[in-house]
Symmetry: C2
Subunit: 214 residues, 2 copies
Amino acid sequence: MIANLKALPDKTIERLSQYRRNLLICLSKGKQHIFSHEIAQIHNITPVQVRRDLMLIGHSGTLRKGYDVKELIDLIGRILDTKDGLKVCVVGIGNLGRSLIGYFNGRRSKLSIVAGFDVNPDKVDKNYAGVHCHHVDRLNEIIKRDGITIAIITVPAEQAPDVAEKLVIAGIKGILNYTPKSVNVAPHVYLEEYDMITSLEKVAYFVKRNGNAE
Amino acid sequence: MIANLKALPDKTIERLSQYRRNLLICLSKGKQHIFSHEIAQIHNITPVQVRRDLMLIGHSGTLRKGYDVKELIDLIGRILDTKDGLKVCVVGIGNLGRSLIGYFNGRRSKLSIVAGFDVNPDKVDKNYAGVHCHHVDRLNEIIKRDGITIAIITVPAEQAPDVAEKLVIAGIKGILNYTPKSVNVAPHVYLEEYDMITSLEKVAYFVKRNGNAE
DNA sequence: GTAACATTGTTAAATTTGTAACAATGATAT
DNA sequence: ATATCATTGTTACAAATTTAACAATGTTAC
């Protein structure tokens, strides 16, 4: 690895992922160079922030010509991706789980959802957008067999802590928990949690606030 | 309104929403008092942060007895909720849209999803978990008719900017955008964006990082 | 009744994140 | 050839958020 010895800020990582996605679209449209203010506009942020992020990853643009789109995509890839990619599983094949699988499939080459898990016998051994669904009882076995390192939890909230525990035992290194129930994991496991209800209540709060202010 | 004249920090709002959800569970189990460190443990945060949040909303606990669960729930309600509630619509009745509707229905009394929209004729005029799906062409009409103030966007990414624009014109006050495409809205409209791919790539980055460190 | 203690509420420090300011630079116009 | 200009890269500043420190206080144990 070249220069990313010091950890990049969380928020920069998030933005890099987003930059890349849109840069790929730009590239597919034949755009070869892009200015910081163009990237900024796409993402509703300031050009300064874009330049700062790119500075942090050590990318240099050309004065008056902007950044080379292809180079930038490659560099972000070297930061975000692993050489051989990582395998992901989804635990809980409800609407949300299926939505994630469908959303993802074929989009990002270096991350791939390779397995699903559910307790419902109607779902077990069926395929969802090309992903095979196993019974949760086989969690440990399949994760180890296939070398899966990342798991997404989309089961009913009550079951989340239990699932998380099993995932950690199975050797999972990163968890994305979409249930409203926070889970505990060993410190070496990276945990990211997101809860849609919270987001909606937050929006509601600010709508209420703006209304009061008028 | 009593004391929330000064805006509360974003993150505090998010946590309040989560506290309340778990406090309701505690209450239903008959627990009447709770300590800051108990709340903290549920949410994987520090007791200090909990106390600080509660300080900000002006709640007082009883020394050595903790916080009165019911009082706290009520106070958070006074901050987050509006008296008559707010109406929400979901634009895009795919897996994610349906997941949100199912997830939400009946859970929070003060926010209710009252309408869905889609372009697919197979979905139009059907019900999803009790929510009627209209054709997107009727967006403006229905939003105004029913007094909907909040919208969740779960359409394919390319269509997000266009949908957002229509929503703003229809008078929506808050938008929750779940597509990877960032949208522009007038400054008086509160916008929250979340992208699942970004979260997953972020988890992958930190998994990679932890691995390298070893 | 007194001392020890657990727990709260608050102020201060540290960290993280975003914004502004501006020098450096090379292309473009005249 | 020179001046102007747009744009980058970087440093310094500001705002938001988290963490630490600790005084205040009422409860419990003795």
